[in-house]
Amino acid sequence: MLIELPFWPQEASTVAGSVDVLSLFLALVAFFFSFLIFLLIFFFAIRYRRRPGLAATPVPTRLSLEVLWTAVPLGLTAVMFTWGSGLYMHNQQDPPGAMNIYVVGKQWMWTVEHLEGRREIGELHVPIGRPVKLILASQDVIHDFFIPAFRVKQDVVPGRYTTLWFEATRIGSYRLVCAQYCGTRHSGMIGNVVVMQPQDYQNWLASGADDPPAKAGERLFHTFSCAGCHELQASQKGPPLIGMYGKSVRMESGETVAFDDGYIRESILNPNEKVVEGYRPIMPTFRNQLNEDEIIQMIAYIRSLGTGDAKP
């Protein structure tokens, strides 16, 4: 039986190739210098091995050499830094028009919520050729969302949202793993990303859709009597929510805050730290009443009320 030795992971996203090129460059540099040092050691060790009657020859320190081997690594690392940071910054910023999918990590599984209503556990279905932005939340400890074939990874931190985007380039099923140690069954927090043709993805979305999260969010909105203050139009007590998602809003403190997922989440949990200009800090907290999934549903509902003019 021939044992297959895997050397290189699959490349299945738009960024995978560029990360690999940089990695290969680094590997080349690493190989060159390791080889250089090994070669020199071997050569000197044999050439200058101890022999009777042959003493060591004093060699004074040469400043030019010291400068050389300070400057060359400095130059090389400058290249690595610039290249690595440039690529990283590019990979951090999600392109406009990315579709949002919400992911919640909890010990020890991933739950995924598509805005169209489909929910899944341990699997993530995405269409090929379209930027996907994941909004990641954790119900308990820190997890990490890692898709090796896409070369993307992001810690999922309780108490806030982190985001990650990718654009898949190859149809297939790829491994998705938790890379941040999260407790006993950390190694079981593993699943698949399924990349599909857009049409297949649409069919898949339609095939087993539950209520869309916005629908569930609307129910929660009524259960918790949010409408009492946040009437959908302007109101005395709370700011309106229609057409607000994605807008920039002035706060009482004078600062300007983006009315985004993170702000909505914070406002539900800690309503009075950032109050919209013209309103009083009177909203109670819903800290102990909503879990991460429900907060996402609320956000989906508010989002469904229409987005503002700013970048969504």
Binding site: N270, P271, N272, E273, P281, M283, T285, R287
Partner: protein, 224 residues
């Protein structure tokens, strides 16, 4: 395994009684001890520094909650305590001077007053703790704080108790060491020739004072 009683583990002494055998003279020993204590204080700066960093991060994130929570602290007791501690530092400085001059009873007097002032500081501090306990402002113990900033106020009080608690622990250690110094003074250990322990423990005491000099405005005077 024959244990010969005469051969104690104490190494051969080339000491003249004033300095230990590894040093050449008393001056070298004293310089070493002073440098050692200052290095130790540098580690203490970083020990408290972790808390100061955390405090800065959260205060800048939740200025409102921190301001509101801070107003629940008793500024009168806090101010009195600052005064008490500054006075104790003065007393400690005078103790070092007395040792340098070889005035044994004056030294004993100043050490005693330093320890008593330190104890007074702790007494006031624990009175404050008792109040906080009654007002349910101790994190983890049925913490109750009116308003929606409650969790962030709890963060403030977490810092309050962690910072003042660790400070109080340092005070307690300092008082114990000063009591030891008092005993040694009674035993006539110190004089103009040898008073390094008084100096080094004095340094420690002043350092604990400095920590409070920062804690006081950071905790009590956030937003008055």
């Amino acid at each position: 395994m024959t244990s010969i009683p005469e051969s104690s583990p104490v190494p051969v002494q080339v000491s003249d009684g004033v300095h230990d055998h590894q040093f050449d003279d008393a001056a070298q020993q004293q310089e070493a001890a002073t440098l050692g204590m200052w290095l130790f204080l540098a580690t203490e700066v970083l020990f408290f520094g972790g808390l100061f960093t955390g405090y800065t991060v959260y205060r800048s994130a939740y200025p409102k909650a921190f301001g509101e929570a801070s107003r629940h602290l008793d500024i009168v007791l806090g101010t009195v305590n600052t005064g008490v501690l500054l006075l104790s530092s003065f007393s400690m400085a005078m103790a070092v001077q007395s040792a340098q001059l070889g005035k044994r009873w004056r030294l004993l007097g100043f050490l005693t007053s330093t320890a008593v002032l330190g104890a007074a500081f702790l007494a006031i501090k624990f009175t404050e703790y008792a109040h906080k306990f009654h007002e349910h402002l101790v994190p983890g113990l049925q913490f109750a704080f009116a308003g929606s900033e409650s969790p962030h106020a709890q963060l403030f009080f977490s810092f309050y108790f962690a910072m003042t608690g660790l400070h109080a622990l340092h005070m307690i250690i300092g008082i114990v060491m000063i009591v030891v110094l008092m005993v040694l003074t009674l035993a006539n250990t110190f004089g103009p020739e040898y008073h390094t322990p008084i100096e080094t423990i004095g340094l420690y005491w002043h350092f604990v004072d400095i920590i409070w000099v920062f804690l006081f405005p950071l905790l009590y005077l956030v937003s008055r």
